[in-house]
């Protein structure tokens, strides 16, 4: 995070020194793009906040904890795809799951699906990529998550 700030400040400073007008054009373009997606983004975050309230962590743990095998993998993939949990919550959660006896392969499916597939951010993704590409990318990623779980299961 600090690195990102430092990097941005350095880029901005260098850019300003070399060409002020070009820099202003760039900053304005970035700002325009930001303001353009901001309403959609905030609405999605609000939606996600409601979803996270309706399906809290203990429920996820209980849900994934009792199941194993193929059904466990499928449920993990589905929960991971629907939930939008930032990594700083997701990995501690994965750790808890494993300590409760959930296999590494189910944990891997859950984590991978969580970071690659975004059901709730789909409207945003469609704005950038179009419906076909967004749906296809998410579907393929979901399949990938399940394959990764299977492979992890062979080794851990």
């Amino acid at each position: 995070m600090a690195l990102l700030i430092l990097f941005t400040v350095v880029c901005l400073a260098v850019s300003l020194v070399v060409d002020q007008r070009k820099t202003m054009t760039g900053v304005k373009r970035g700002l325009d793009m930001f303001l353009n997606v901001l309403p959609a983004l905030l609405a999605i975050l609000a939606l996600v906040s409601v979803a996270l309230y309706l399906v809290p962590e203990p429920l996820i743990i209980e849900f994934l904890g009792r199941r194993s095998g193929v059904l466990g993998v499928l449920i993990a993939a589905a929960v991971g795809a629907i939930a939008l949990i930032p990594p700083f919550i997701a990995f501690p959660l994965a750790n808890i799951l494993h300590s409760k006896g959930v296999s590494y392969s189910v944990v891997a499916v859950f984590v991978t699906s969580l970071i690659m597939v975004g059901f709730v951010t789909l409207p945003l993704e469609i704005r950038y990529f179009g419906k076909k590409a967004a749906l296809l990318r998410n579907a393929l990623s979901l399949i990938a998550a399940i394959i990764i779980g299977g492979l992890i299961g062979l080794f851990l």
Binding site: R29, G130, L151
Partner: protein, 170 residues
């Protein structure tokens, strides 16, 4: 009026949260707390990301991107986008504007989706987190298995969407 329309759902949410806080409606308060957490993440990453995207847009010539990660860039192109993705941070939606810019500057369809894949799975801040909670073996194995899979996803996406496909400005 236009602003009200664009921010309709946001305004509804703000009213709901304010009401909940004033009346002590507990579910509303919890939802609001979730929201502020996400908002912090958004405020921390996105403005900087867009600023960089804007600067990138005016400074990096199209030819350079086309040459290094364009249609004929091969493995080297994939390597560059993966490296770029690994050095970044933030939620997946922060990668979308970057993908737009790469696309605009002539990156190949394959490399755009390899970039998205690497951003979601292999960024260094994520991996450090993964190591501390799930261990080295898990992190290395997952990364190792993920890498070829999202390259395949990139290839499939290019095949299906065609080489003329472009990411939109959002």
């Amino acid at each position: 009026m236009k602003v009200v329309k664009r921010y309709f759902w946001v305004i509804i949410f703000v009213l709901f949260s304010t009401g909940s806080l004033l009346l002590g409606f507990e579910p509303g308060e919890l939802i609001y707390r979730n929201f502020t957490q996400f908002l912090l993440e958004l405020v921390a990453f996105l403005p900087l990301m867009f600023l960089l995207v804007g600067l990138f847009d005016v400074w990096v010539p199209k030819e350079a991107i086309e040459k290094h990660i364009g249609g004929r860039s091969g493995f080297a192109g994939a390597f560059w986008v993966i490296l770029l993705a690994m050095l970044q941070a933030g939620p997946l939606y922060a990668a979308f504007p970057v993908a737009y810019l790469l696309s605009k500057k002539g990156a190949s369809v394959r490399n755009i989706f390899i970039y998205i894949g690497a951003f979601s799975c292999l960024k260094l801040p994520l991996l450090t987190f993964e190591v501390s909670f799930l261990g080295w073996r898990f992190m290395l194995l997952r990364s190792l298995f993920t890498l070829p899979l999202f390259i395949v996803i990139g290839l499939i996406m290019e095949r299906v969407l065609g080489q003329g496909y472009k990411v939109k400005a959002g």
